[in-house]
């Protein structure tokens, strides 16, 4: 995940290059390092460097990394001829490379030739059964074909071996949520929280899933995780604040007859409501009316 400073730096470089003031190579390096997906810009700037033979030779050995980056960006923008040219150049230079093999597989995917892409990836995996990137490409391909259950199957197999790969867990969690398999999604989010306990995003997502599952215990747990998100983000996360309000009122509704056990609930809810109102006043004054009506309906 990209931090805010890195994002602003990236945008600044983008503006700089857009307005004609050099820095294209730094932009490309930064995009590659942060693994962000900005295909049009990468394609534009990358081609401008590659087509100019002087600039190209100034890059030295980095030239090939640039070819790879431009090839992937071209495939994103569906400029398949550009991609094919780049890959041809790379294949001439590195005839036996697995990295180029992966790019060729991606080109087949981009053209929509799923069967051949699958064959290409399987042959690459025969040589090296532990190539993480190729495994992930297979999952991505299954997802792109719309075959979500196959994607889940591949991803689970991948995670059986590489169970410390938190990006894969995140992908699996999102797939489960899209299929409304919330229990499994909760498991994946727990894994994510275990590996990176200080990232508020995972707490928030986990709380959302628990709230959706419903049931008194889950609601109480969800409330706790919304609270931890608020703590980790210093109270600035609107979604967590709203989550607290919703959770408290839902708990109140579910446990109408039973005696309320948590002692801090009214305070937390009212505090969250006040914080929300303050936030809305500052940032979106015109929507304050909507907020107050929602809050009053919840407190019932």
């Amino acid at each position: 995940m990209v931090s805010k400073t890195e994002e602003t730096q990236l945008n600044r470089l983008e503006n700089q290059v857009d307005n004609g003031g050099g820095g294209a190579w730094e932009y490309l390096c930064l995009a590659r390092k942060l693994k962000v997906r900005r295909p049009e810009n990468v394609l534009k700037y990358g081609l401008s460097i590659l087509n100019d033979s002087k600039k190209r030779s100034a890059l030295g050995p980095e030239e090939w990394t640039l070819y790879e980056q431009v090839a992937i960006a071209a495939m994103d923008c569906q400029c398949l001829d550009v991609a094919k040219d780049c890959i041809k150049v790379l294949r001439k230079k590195f005839p036996e490379s697995k990295r180029v093999g992966r790019l060729e597989g991606m080109l087949l995917e981009a053209k929509g030739l799923w069967g051949e892409a699958e064959k290409a990836y399987s042959s690459l995996l025969e040589d090296n059964a532990l190539d993480q990137v190729i495994h992930k490409r297979r999952v991505a391909m299954a997802k792109a074909q719309g075959n979500i259950s196959a994607a889940i199957e591949w991803l689970n197999k991948y995670l059986e071996i590489f169970m410390a790969d938190h990006d894969a867990w995140r992908e699996l969690a999102e797939i489960y949520v899209s299929l409304q398999m919330y229990k499994q999604a909760a498991f994946c989010y727990e894994e994510l929280i275990l590996s990176q306990p200080t990232v508020p995003l995972y707490h928030l997502a986990y709380a959302d899933v628990l709230y959706t599952l419903g049931g008194l215990e889950n609601l109480q747990t969800a409330k706790k995780y919304y609270a931890s998100t608020i703590d980790l983000t210093g109270g600035k996360n609107t979604r967590a604040l709203l989550g607290i309000c919703l959770c408290t009122s839902a708990i109140g509704q579910v446990s109408k007859g039973r005696n309320k056990e948590d002692k801090e609930s009214p305070e937390l809810q009212s505090l969250a409501a006040k914080a929300l109102e303050k936030d809305y006043k500052q940032r979106a004054d015109d929507k304050l009316g909507l907020l107050t009506s929602v809050l009053t309906s919840l407190k019932i």
Partner: protein
Amino acid sequence: MAEDLVLDTAIRDWVLIPLSVVMVLIGILRYFVSKLMLSSQLPDPKIVKEGQIIVRARNLRAAANFIPPKSFRSRRVYFSNEENGLLFVPKGQAQNPQAQMFSDPNMAMDMMKKNLSMIIPQTLTFAWVNFFFSGFVAAKIPFPLTQRFRSMLQNGIDLSTVDVSYVSSRSWYFLNLFGLRGLFSLILGEENATDDTQRMMQMSGFGFDPSKNLGAEKDGLDIVQHEWALPKFEHRAEAVLKKLIK
């Protein structure tokens, strides 16, 4: 015995400096040869899987207090239960990794190559030093030593009355062998094949690592007491919000 021997400066010019230069050059040569002979070793799937299991178990131990108690317990059972827990290594299997390493031809070849690239240059240089540079005093060590070091440091010098601080070139060779490591990491970058001392330390403890690690992780996991930290967070969130509203 306490007299100061005057050593010819020619010794410095023709023994100490050439010996150091030769050792540096041989080190650089070995570095490039090792780069040429680098065989891409296919990682063993079992070892990769075990490494990942250990990372995951470690994460579980470290952040156990962030997930609900039920989830923690179910995960702990998954890892360390007797029948098919991931971390559970039955006693019989514990011996396998070392035997496997010897029987697996690829790994054995690799280890032999690494050992050879270390042993052969050392042996050759040592023999060369002994042949050409023996039988005279090469240097004086600045601090006094006991008589026990005589056999080690003065092997070419057959006089028993010479102070032990006067050493032969063999000791200069050993000094260079261990001392040039710092120089190599400056010249060749951090990862270089001349890290003999590291390799020697590695040789003493190889093979057993995977199963011991798993067992250690399992014990660590069994010990962990789960104390759910989330209720505290509600209080903290309140405090944060109170501050925010003010």
